[in-house]
C-alpha cells in the first residue's frame, strides 16, 4: 500500500562478482520502486554460514525480512512458524500459472505461498573443452557407456578425462547426475525424493555406485579439496576434457572470454530428465508496515519479468517463469530452458538432491556422507548401498 515505504534486509550468500552483480540488479529495481534495501551477505559452504547467521537471528527474534532459502528447508522453516504468508502477491501476479508446477510446489507451504523463486540452475550439465574433444575425435557423450569409452580414449591420450573437485557437494553433484542417468527419472524420484527403500537398495543403485567407481578412475589424483572453479579452469586450459557441474560453471568460461559452442561445449548429462536447483527468497514474519511492504515488493519484483531476464543473464541460470523471451541468452541457456519446458511436460523435471532441493538437510546429508565416503575410499558398491540405507534410516 501507499503509506509505507518498503524496507528489506536481505540475507543471502551471493557474494562473488557475477552473483553480486545480479543481486545489485534486484536492489536497483527495489530502489526504483521506492524501497530501501539493506544487504546482508554471508558466503561460504553453500549457505552453511548464512544458515548459521539466519538461525541465530531468528532465535534472537531479529529475523531478516527475507533470506535466501531453498528446497524443503522452506517448509522446515515454515513448520517452525517463522515464515510470512505472501499469497496475496503470488495470486495477484498469477504465479501458479507462470511457474512450472514442480517449482511452484517448492514455494508453497500448506497451501499458502511462502517463498519467491529467483532462478533455475540446471545441475546435470556436462561441460567440455571443444578443442580437446575434436583433437581426439570425440563427440559429446549421450550415454554413460559413451562417456566411459570417451574417457578411456582421452586417458590414453594423456588428457584427464574428468575435471573434478573432491568436496562432498561436488561428489554429490556427479553422483546425482549418474543416478538420474541410470535410475531414470522415476527411479530418481523414488530414491531421492520419496526415499523409497526398495529403490535405494536396488541393483540399479549398485550400478550407480559402480559407475561412480569407474568415474573415480577418470579423475586425476590431486582432485581432493579442489575448488570447483579450479576444475573448470582445467577444462578451459585443456588439461581436462569434461566437467560435470551446474550451469554456474558457464560463468567461469564466460569470464575468461570463452564462447559457448566454439571454445567449450555444454550438454545435459546422459539420461532423461532435468535436475533443477532453484534459488528463492523466503519471507520471515516481521513487524512493521515498512518491512511487510518491503516483502511484498521484493516478492513481486523477484518474479517480475524484467528482473528475471536481467538477473539470469548475469547469473548464468535461466528464468523460473516460462514466459520470458530468451533472445539475449546464450545457447546453453536456451537449451536449458527448452529442456525444462519439455521435462515439465514429461514429468521428469526433478529437484536436485545434491543442492538441497529434494530432501531435508539431515537426509540429504546422510546420502552425501555415503556418496563421498564411497568415492574417496575403495568401498564396494554393495557396501555403499547398505551404508546408504542405514544412513537414511538413522537420519530420520
Amino acid at each position: 500500500d501507499g503509506h509505507a515505504s518498503p524496507e528489506a534486509e536481505v540475507l543471502h550468500y551471493w557474494t562473488s562478482g557475477g552473483e553480486a552483480k545480479s543481486v545489485a540488479v534486484l536492489q536497483e529495481e527495489f530502489a526504483a520502486n521506492g524501497g530501501t534495501w539493506t544487504d546482508m551477505p554471508v558466503a561460504g559452504g553453500g549457505g552453511d554460514a548464512a544458515g548459521t547467521a539466519l538461525r541465530a537471528r531468528v532465535l534472537a527474534g531479529n529475523a531478516p525480512t527475507a533470506a535466501q532459502i531453498k528446497g524443503p528447508a522452506i517448509q522446515e522453516w515454515y513448520e517452525e512458524g517463522v515464515l510470512a504468508d505472501i499469497s496475496a502477491v503470488a495470486e495477484a501476479n498469477n504465479w501458479s500459472k507462470i511457474l512450472p508446477e514442480a517449482i511452484a510446489g517448492h514455494m508453497q507451504c500448506e497451501g499458502t505461498w511462502c517463498a519467491a523463486p529467483v532462478n533455475v540452475h540446471r545441475v546435470d550439465w556436462i561441460w567440455a573443452n571443444a578443442e580437446v574433444l575434436s583433437a581426439n575425435g570425440i563427440d559429446m557423450p549421450t550415454t554413460w557407456d559413451e562417456f566411459n569409452a570417451a574417457a578411456t580414449k582421452l586417458q590414453a591420450a594423456g588428457v584427464i578425462p574428468l575435471a573434478h573437485g573432491g568436496q562432498a557437494w561436488q561428489d554429490a553433484t556427479v553422483f546425482e547426475a549418474v543416478a538420474l542417468g541410470i535410475l531414470g527419472s522415476d527411479g530418481f524420484r523414488k530414491a531421492f525424493v520419496e526415499l523409497d527403500m526398495d529403490t535405494l537398495k536396488s541393483d540399479d543403485m549398485v550400478a550407480v555406485f559402480d559407475q561412480m567407481r569407474t568415474m573415480r578412475g577418470y579423475v586425476d589424483e590431486n582432485f581432493s579439496g579442489r575448488d570447483w572453479n579450479l576444475a573448470t579452469a582445467m577444462v578451459m586450459n585443456g588439461e581436462a576434457a569434461f566437467q560435470i557441474m551446474g550451469d554456474w560453471a558457464k560463468g567461469e568460461f564466460m569470464a575468461a572470454g570463452k564462447v559457448p559452442g566454439e571454445d567449450f561445449l555444454c550438454l545435459s548429462t546422459p539420461g532423461e530428465g532435468f535436475l533443477y536447483n532453484v534459488d528463492s527468497f523466503a519471507m520471515f514474519a516481521v513487524d512493521g508496515d515498512d518491512k511487510q511492504a518491503g516483502q511484498a515488493l521484493l516478492a513481486e519484483l523477484v518474479v517480475g519479468e524484467s528482473f528475471q531476464e536481467v538477473f539470469n543473464l548475469n547469473k548464468g541460470s535461466i528464468p523460473v517463469r516460462t514466459d520470458v523471451a530468451l533472445d539475449n541468452f546464450d545457447s546453453c541457456a536456451v537449451l536449458s530452458a527448452d529442456d525444462m519446458a519439455a521435462s515439465n511436460e514429461g514429468g521428469s523435471l526433478l529437484p536436485s538432491y545434491a543442492h538441497g532441493m529434494a530432501l531435508r538437510g539431515a537426509q540429504a546429508g546422510a546420502i552425501t556422507d555415503t556418496v563421498t565416503a564411497h568415492f574417496n575410499s575403495d568401498m564396494s558398491s554393495a557396501d555403499a548401498v547398505q551404508m546408504l540405507a542405514d544412513a537414511i534410516a538413522n537420519s530420520m
Partner: protein, 290 residues
C-alpha cells in the same frame, strides 16, 4: 552499611562475572544437555524424547570417524607440537644472535586465523600445485607428498597445519621455562662433568614439568576447539575423512538442521574436555593455594 560494603566488596565485584558465567557457560551447557534429549531439527524444541540422539550419534559412521580423528589428531598434534616446540626452544636458547627476529617468525602463525591462511595451505599441500609439484620441478621426479588427497593420510595434513600454527607458541612457553631454570644447577652439572645433551635430558627438561602441563592444557584446548583449521584446509574431506567433533557438530546444527544431533555430539565433546580439564584445575588450584 559502608562497613558492610567494605567487607563484601570483593564478592560484589566478582558477582557479575559469576552470574554471567553461570548463565552463559553453565546455563548453556545445561541447555545443550536438554536439547540433546529432544528431536530438535532446524530450531530447538523442548519436548524430551530420551536418548535417541545419542543412539543416532553412536550409529553414525561419520561420528565414528570424527571422534577417532579427535584422538589421532589430538595425540599427534599435542605430542609433535610439544616436541617441536621444545627442540626449537632449545635451539633458540644457544645464544642466537637474531633470536628476536626468529622468535617472531616462529610465533606469528598464532596471530593468524586459519580463515586467512587456509587457502595458502591448501595450495601448498596440494600435490598438483604445491610442494610436490615444486620439488618435482626441481628435478626430483619421484618426490611424493599427496597426503591432502589421500583419505587415510589427510588428517595428518591437518596435524601439520595445526602444528604450524601452534608450535611457535609452545616454543615461547618452553623458552620462558628454560630461562627460569636456575643457572647454578647448570653450572653444577658442568662441574660434575655432565655433557650438554645430558644436562638437557636429565636435568633441565625434567625440571620443566609444570610448563609441559601448561602447554598440554593450551594445546588440548586448541585441539578440542579445532574448527577453522579443518574447514579452511580440507572442509572435512576427502569424503569426511578429516571431520572432527567440532566440525561434525557444526555441520549437523547449521547445514543439516539437526540440532538435537548436534547437541548430543556437543555433550560428548564436553565430557572429553571435562576429563582433561578437571584434573588440571584440581592440581592448579591445590598447588597454588599454599
Amino acid at each position: 552499611m559502608t562497613k558492610w560494603l567494605e567487607e563484601h566488596m570483593p564478592k560484589l565485584v566478582l558477582a557479575p562475572s559469576f552470574i554471567v558465567v553461570l548463565i552463559f557457560v553453565y546455563g548453556f551447557i545445561a541447555w545443550t544437555a536438554w536439547v540433546s534429549l529432544t528431536r530438535s531439527r532446524l530450531l530447538p524444541r523442548y519436548e524430551i524424547d530420551g536418548f535417541i540422539q545419542y543412539d543416532r550419534l553412536f550409529a553414525s559412521p561419520r561420528w565414528d570417524t570424527a571422534f577417532t580423528n579427535l584422538f589421532v589428531f589430538g595425540f599427534l598434534f599435542i605430542v609433535i607440537a610439544m616436541i617441536l616446540g621444545l627442540i626449537l626452544a632449545i635451539l633458540l636458547d644457544q645464544n642466537i644472535r637474531t633470536e628476536g627476529a626468529i622468535r617472531t617468525i616462529y610465533l606469528y602463525p598464532m596471530a593468524l586465523s586459519m580463515i586467512v591462511t587456509g587457502t595458502a595451505w591448501k595450495w601448498i599441500l596440494n600435490p598438483g600445485l604445491g610442494l610436490e609439484a615444486t620439488v618435482r620441478g626441481w628435478g626430483f621426479e619421484d618426490f611424493t607428498f599427496n597426503w591432502l588427497v589421500d583419505p587415510d593420510m589427510a588428517i595428518y595434513t591437518v596435524v601439520i597445519a595445526a602444528i604450524w600454527q601452534s608450535s611457535g607458541f609452545v616454543m615461547a612457553l618452553f623458552l620462558a621455562g628454560l630461562r627460569s631454570v636456575d643457572q647454578e644447577i647448570i653450572k653444577a652439572a658442568q662441574v660434575d662433568g655432565i655433557p650438554t645433551w645430558r644436562v638437557y635430558t636429565a636435568i633441565i627438561i625434567p625440571a620443566m614439568a609444570p610448563i609441559f602441563l601448561s602447554a598440554f592444557i593450551v594445546l588440548s584446548h586448541l585441539a578440542i576447539k579445532s574448527f577453522d583449521l579443518v574447514i579452511a584446509l580440507t572442509g572435512g574431506g576427502p569424503g569426511y575423512a578429516t571431520d572432527l567433533p567440532a566440525t561434525y557438530m557444526y555441520t549437523m546444527a547449521f547445514s543439516r538442521g539437526d540440532i538435537g544431533q548436534a547437541a548430543s555430539s556437543a555433550m560428548i565433546m564436553m565430557m572429553v574436555v571435562f576429563t582433561i580439564v578437571v584434573p588440571y584445575l584440581y592440581s592448579e588450584l591445590r598447588t597454588k593455594d599454599d
